[in-house]
Symmetry: C2
Subunit: 502 residues, 2 copies
């Protein structure tokens, strides 16, 4: 076994962080390790001999990336998130069909050396006393264990009130990166019946449902019309997420389902809806046209100008371009449009928020603006749950979140070097362009709006697909996934996708 031990020192010193009344003896007996010259920079009144404590709320693109980058020899870092992992969103669509294994799209937070992790949800923040109150999430809904013969059960091993007791985590700097969740714009029935695609659990759910639809449609007691209804896959939202999912699904059906379920050949259909006239509206017109032509050729139906009015367990009602209302059946409905801030940000007091999105106002240095209109020096908001108070709205993308994480990392680094953090200047987003996979070894790469150096190129087809794969593969966080991802791509190419449902 290679020596992969954790930096014990930082892990030990972090014990101070968490309010840990019953184990206080353990933490007080350990001496504070490593030099931390600027440990108390942020609390200018009290100078104590310990590292600066950074608490990050959230383990998404912003939170996870920041936790990875911060120099743990200078800071004690705690990540608070109900998810013990980061979801690598560009690969989620691939995992829904089995092109990639689910774990290829995740990175465990605990694998970041020197970072303390609390499986919990932030409840509230006491800005005056610099404390976050969190609610444990180890027993939360999504972790329930399924059993064969009963409903989801979850044996509480200790009196639940004990485990679900909230606790406090003190911070010197707080970074709010709780992101957004999928939103249904209040469309009735969507929250109950649609599938989303924000997290690896969503992807697993889609995969189970997809394979279930195939088995249901294979039963002999139903008509071909009923089979067609079961195999109607409807995707709402023509942005990159919806398009990539439709593309993966189309590949899965033509490359695997037709072979493994020969009886169902020709019965499946994929329809993509959007309120806009077409799909991928943020892309260059020429590329968009390419994608639409490709989908038309592959049999993926695109329905622009469509408003979904309501959803039931197996139908959606929609208003078409000509104003008529139509009700269509589905076997699986995937909702990939709309975002809203999560309940923690919604309930957060003492900060200024955007009246429309309810996201947190930040100044150009990503400092949270308090309800008096002043930036708080120790509290930051990054990623989808933040909005510059300048009014310039940034896209809610992984690219923006990652760049904000990188900016925060540089600020913290500057602090640890004894410099003023704001001396690096305000945050500015660099548009690196966008990419989307459109199926069958083809993709689009659009750098026409790019604000970084390099060619302002537009590319479609196989070469773009090659760039898509290469880029995301190298963006993978761990060596583990940098090895596994191309391995699974190769296996899917030679042996097809796995249809095991368990």
């Amino acid at each position: 076994m290679l020596p992969l031990t954790t930096t014990r020192a930082s892990a030990t010193s972090l014990r101070h962080l968490v309010a840990h009344p019953l184990r206080r003896h353990a933490s007080t007996s350990t001496s504070t390790p490593a030099t931390a010259p600027l440990a108390s920079f942020m609390s200018s009144t009290t100078v104590i001999e310990r590292k600066g404590r950074i608490v990050i709320l959230g383990s998404g693109w912003a939170g996870y990336n920041l936790a990875r980058k911060i120099d743990k020899s200078f800071y004690d870092v705690t990540v608070v998130s109900p998810n013990s992992y980061f979801s690598f969103t560009p690969f989620l669509a691939s995992t829904t069909t089995g092109t990639l294994e689910f774990r290829c799209a995740t990175e465990p937070v605990r694998s970041i050396e020197g970072v303390e992790y609390a499986q919990a949800r932030a409840e509230s923040v006491d800005f005056a006393n610099k404390t976050v109150t969190v609610a444990p999430a180890s027993l939360s809904d999504h972790t329930k264990v399924q059993r064969d013969k009963s409903d989801a059960t979850d044996v509480a091993l200790l009196p639940e009130q004990k485990l679900s007791k909230n606790y406090d985590i003190p911070y010197d700097a707080l970074v709010i990166a709780t992101g957004c969740r999928s939103a249904s714009f209040g469309t009735p029935g969507v929250a109950e019946h649609a599938m989303f695609l924000k997290d690896v659990r969503d992807a697993r759910r889609i995969r189970l449902r997809l394979l279930q639809c195939l088995e249901l449609a294979s039963e002999p007691n139903i008509t071909d019309d009923e089979r067609r209804a079961l195999l109607s896959f409807r995707v709402v939202g023509g942005g990159p997420t919806g398009v990539e999912f439709a593309a993966e699904l189309c590949d899965f059906i033509t490359e695997d389902v037709d072979r493994l379920y020969p009886r169902l050949r020709g019965l499946a259909s994929i329809t993509l809806y959007d309120v806009a006239p077409g799909i991928l509206m943020s892309f260059d017109g020429e590329l968009r046209h390419y994608a639409e032509k490709k989908f038309a050729r592959d049999g993926v139906t695109v329905r622009g100008n469509s408003h979904i009015l309501a959803a039931g367990p197996d139908w959606i009602e929609l208003k078409k371009a000509d104003g008529t209302v139509e009700r269509v059946q589905y076997g699986m409905l995937v909702w990939s449009t709309g975002l809203s801030v999560n309940p923690f940000v919604n309930s957060l007091k003492g900060v200024s928020k955007d009246p429309h999105t309810h996201s947190i106002h930040v100044d150009p240095y990503l400092r949270v603006i308090d309800d008096q209109g002043k930036p708080m020096p120790h509290v930051f908001a990054v990623g989808d749950n933040s909005t510059p108070d300048s009014g310039q709205r940034l896209p809610a993308t992984a690219q923006v979140a990652s760049q904000m994480a990188h900016y925060m990392h540089k600020k913290f680094k500057r602090l640890s070097m004894g410099k003023a953090p704001e001396s690096i200047g305000p945050f500015s987003w660099k548009n690196k362009g966008s990419m989307v996979f459109v199926g069958k070894e083809q993709a689009l790469v659009d750098r026409s709006g790019s604000t970084v150096e390099g060619p302002k190129s537009k590319l479609s087809g196989f070469a773009a697909w090659f760039i898509w794969r290469s880029y995301y593969m190298t963006l993978s966080m761990s060596w583990r996934n940098q090895i596994l991802v191309p391995m699974y791509w190769t296996l899917a190419y030679f042996f097809g996708r796995d249809v095991t449902r368990f």
Copy 2:
């Protein structure tokens, strides 16, 4: 993409098989493909131009192996099983800790070329009319989809009564291979609270619970004693399954948990219980001693002569060797002893059964004995759910099930060549010896009781472990898994195991 098309011919002709009233037009319009000279060998009265129809109930070691081996150009093969996959049981313990990915221990039934699969449970057999009645299982409990905010939901897409309607499958030859399920010997509380390890879903459940215990124990509001209770892993059954699970768990704790959860170091414990005085009682004494010494050194406690009296959500009550009764706490209880035939075999009418195990009596040619004491020429029982009426009981192992599948394959082959199937002689089991993994790159190989050619060797330690891995790797069914398994072993070696819980 490589050409991996199914033999369309056999898939089409199989449509005749399934009672498919609503699609009759589709099947009658296709001509029967391929020559099938001995198609009607088994129904000696009616001679019709079609292939012989073999229906296999079950997708375990016996059923899956038989379905794979049968020559599909001579037979139409249908597999009926609630599980759309085969569980490669030797790797299940490795998947509980993440040494291997779950899918490394599964093979999808639908990937067998030319085999028709019905996700259903056998309900009853009409031996006179050669028909099996099956109940669809596509909507069954274990396939329920979990959602974040609610209990397990499973949207019935069509009126449920329609999908759950039983249907009939006619056969020329029926092979009953439904196997056994885990049994608790009526010990109160075990069925509700214990984890089992027979299937990949069991393995997933164990992994989720194990990781949940680690997160629960990481919460700050509890005492170290409560942590020790949460991290008490108790395994009942000292056979190869229990021993391999304890070994994998011990490796996981020392190699990964101590590194990723430094705060929990020294708090976890593993205890293995058996009614026998020790573990691995079917192994040679010297090897057994080696395993016990190794477990003692690694801190895995072995408690022989222990009878479990009852189990609760976090405790078991047991009678010790000295007759005293003790109640101990656990965080996870894994029950790996005892088997019972499944409900279908229990309710099956018209066949002779073993009065103790309720398994089906077969003659030396594996033909099922009817309730008049006569072998049925077209009905066979293989694997754990069969018992020779001679009284000689065979071990309920993968080895026996595989050999029975191979024997049946040879019989069907002989039939297709125009020979009498019984001319190959009675089934006889060859003991090839046994192997067990005991942790930390060590295993036992015991061929001292072997009845096949080769050295009657006993081996323990690293060399035995090397043989263990090599043997099972080559035994893997698909190319896919023959590539993935060593890849995951290598990744676990270099980067440790993944602790993502979703």
